[in-house]
Symmetry: C2
């Protein structure tokens, strides 16, 4: 039985029948959203399974709300079901909010991108397509390379020249063909569009290009619903570039409301690097539309270095969702990001890459600004693992001590500070 | 209730009461093994829980058979419960054995070392000790650094100078103090012993120095028992250096036999790099004792580059266990290792580091040598993830293609081979 209803443009409201892979609205170039037959889903055991809070196997537990009809087309590496941890430093102080972490670095390729790629590549398989392309800074590329390998698809990846070497090597190890271009992620994205248009490759960019990838992102909302026993936290904090992760979670919570499982959603908070913050800037200036980011500047949060050049409207939808949820957008500095990363590693043994720690840096900033009430529950999303690259944060650490093998040499360094 | 009985030397048979952290036998320097009160365990619900094959949460499901008395002392990052996957290329051919993979790269810090470190650091916490040391090539150090962070212990790590830079940086990020020495892993190990003897730090080396780390390794056997519905595979293949992982699994299966849950164990196969293979060499020569490895030579399998210099008897116990199980020891070349790694990545989206793929390389070699029967089930252990380092295998891949952003430029590279 299919639970898919239609595909609707969030800008002009045009609807389209469900079919093969689609991108943006043919009429207005707006973002498309997949809609399901929620009344039919209510008649299945889906609500009952959602209210059995104890078990999540992977994101395909939610197949009724994912755009793949046949289980045989599912391409899964056991993504999802990532743990929720409570930040110990806040636990024993009643004046502080409860601070929780959802650790997406525990996904198979080390980032939340396994969710959108599992869904999008399953859709590609269901369509019978064979060749795919994406543009990426790293995590989405590694995820696409892995799922393409599992599905035995031909995969092509366009990366900007500031992409971490380690991640490029990993994409290649999975068998993807990687092309490096001069320019930034916007240039890579626009170039990938040219290729997919001309050569007919399916484009799996994980921004807002197609509706399938955000469908994967939304599974985080479903897991949060279950992991918080049907009562999600008051706040949820995300590192964002263009924002499909936040927008996907908004859609997920909205669907749970449509199904009668929820009557409110968390306030969704977007955190950007101050070096590239088109959405946070629009929010701070009280604007309704996001503009392209024109300032130059490198940030340690490479994965969210997203100027939206050529597609600022992708940021506008994110800004809308933040506001509709009652949330906030803010920026953090590279130093705050690195501090957040080391705090997570040294206090909780959670190991994000710098980009992955941006949400935590933002939550700590909001805490210092007294934005949270003591009774609030704040859930921070850690988006990706620090294991896939060490280049970015290495400069913040001392070199290891080189010593001769004598007790006297060791004793001169024993005790004292860590290697920071 | 404690289920611990005593500690016994596997060489001289001397027994000692259970107490604070111990190392090797005070009388003969033999390896110590922890023994439990198996009759008392039979009277608990342990057997029933083992036979409920459906559920494993983490290694602490097996607490009755782990050397920590109080649950409050457990230091866990949700290690264990790693997936079993079937190698698709062998599935549809009845003339081939069934080939399964247990993917230890899915542990929290990306290797099986999370098991011994979770157990050893929980023991350190139960003892009330505060400072720890280890010697490592990488994975054990990253695991120790993470668990030490979680337990808020002071941790010191000795690494040989050929240790991957990325992994050293990760140990530091978790707050460990890292010392780099000239020499190999044997030198690092012997130096760490000097320091722990003189300064009273607890030494958590994951070879055979203390009985606690192999207790963590053995939890793999318990999981295999459950994941194979009480009927473990005929063969189990491991990448090994000194061999505590194989010896730990032997002990785990033996305990299940002592508890009446099993009446046989898998044949345990040890795979070493041909560049450093003291145990495989002794096996091939029909010897009963392992000698130190004296030949120089680098291998891509850095994590098992273990010459056993100063402690060849650690290899002898591994050799004994291989033989007692009816297993085999063999070597593989660097090229076979790299091929195994890329096969796993490109066919199954499993991503080991080169060392992690050594067992798979060995299994494929044994398959080509017709060592397996068509009806055999062969389980290969993937020991660690390729995400924590790319230095070793990078040279086997082409550089990514640098192109200008034109369709014509892309088309000249479209199709054809992957970047190998």
């Amino acid at each position: 039985m299919t639970t898919l209803r239609d595909i609707k443009c969030v800008s002009c409201g045009a609807t389209y029948p469900v079919g093969k892979f689609v991108y943006k609205c043919p009429q207005c170039n707006g973002i498309l959203e997949i809609r399901y037959d929620y009344e039919a889903i209510k008649k299945t055991d889906f609500l009952e399974r959602m209210q059995d809070y104890g078990t999540i196997r992977n994101i395909w537990d939610f197949q009724e709300l994912l755009p793949v009809d046949h289980a045989r087309n599912i391409v899964s590496l056991e993504e999802g079901n990532t743990p929720i941890l409570e930040y110990a430093d806040f636990v024993q102080d009643d004046s502080k909010p409860s601070l929780f972490i959802k650790d997406e670095s525990r996904n198979p390729t080390g980032s939340f991108k396994d969710r959108p790629l599992s869904v999008a590549i399953s859709k590609v398989k269901e369509d019978g397509s064979q060749a795919i392309i994406t543009s990426t800074h790293g995590n989405a590329g590694v995820a696409m390379a892995a799922y393409a390998a599992k599905a035995r698809l031909d995969s092509y990846i366009i990366v900007p020249d500031d992409t971490e070497v380690d991640k490029v090597v990993m994409m290649q190890a999975f068998g993807s063909k990687v092309f490096q271009i001069e320019g930034d992620i916007s240039d890579a994205y626009n170039f990938s569009l040219l290729i997919s248009d001309e050569l007919g490759l399916v484009n799996l960019a994980t921004t807002f290009l197609s509706p399938y990838t955000t469908e994967g992102d939304k599974t985080i909302a479903f897991e949060v619903y279950k992991q918080f026993q049907g009562n999600p936290p008051e706040w949820m904090v995300f590192p964002i570039g263009a924002g499909p992760l936040l927008v996907g979670c908004y859609k997920g919570f909205k669907e749970l409301m449509d199904l009668g499982l929820l009557n409110r959603m968390p306030k969704l908070v977007a955190v950007q690097s101050e070096k590239c913050a088109p959405i946070a800037k629009a929010y701070e200036q009280g604007l309704d539309e996001v503009a392209e980011w024109r300032e130059e500047g490198e940030t340690i949060a490479v994965g969210i270095h997203e100027p939206l050049r050529g597609y600022p409207e992708d940021g506008t939808i994110t800004l809308q969702r933040i506001k509709e949820s009652g949330g906030i957008a803010l920026t953090v500095s590279d130093n705050e990001i690195v501090q957040a990363m080391f705090d997570l590693a040294r206090k909780e043994a959670i190991f994000p890459e710098p980009t992955g720690a941006v949400g935590f840096a933002g939550a700590m900033k909001l805490y210092r600004q007294n934005q949270f009430k003591a009774e609030d529950r704040v859930l921070v999303l850690i988006s990706g693992s620090g294991y896939k690259e060490s280049g970015g944060y290495k400069k913040y650490l001392k070199d290891p001590v080189k010593i001769e093998r004598s007790l006297a040499a060791f004793k001169t360094h024993f005790g004292g500070e860590s290697d920071e």
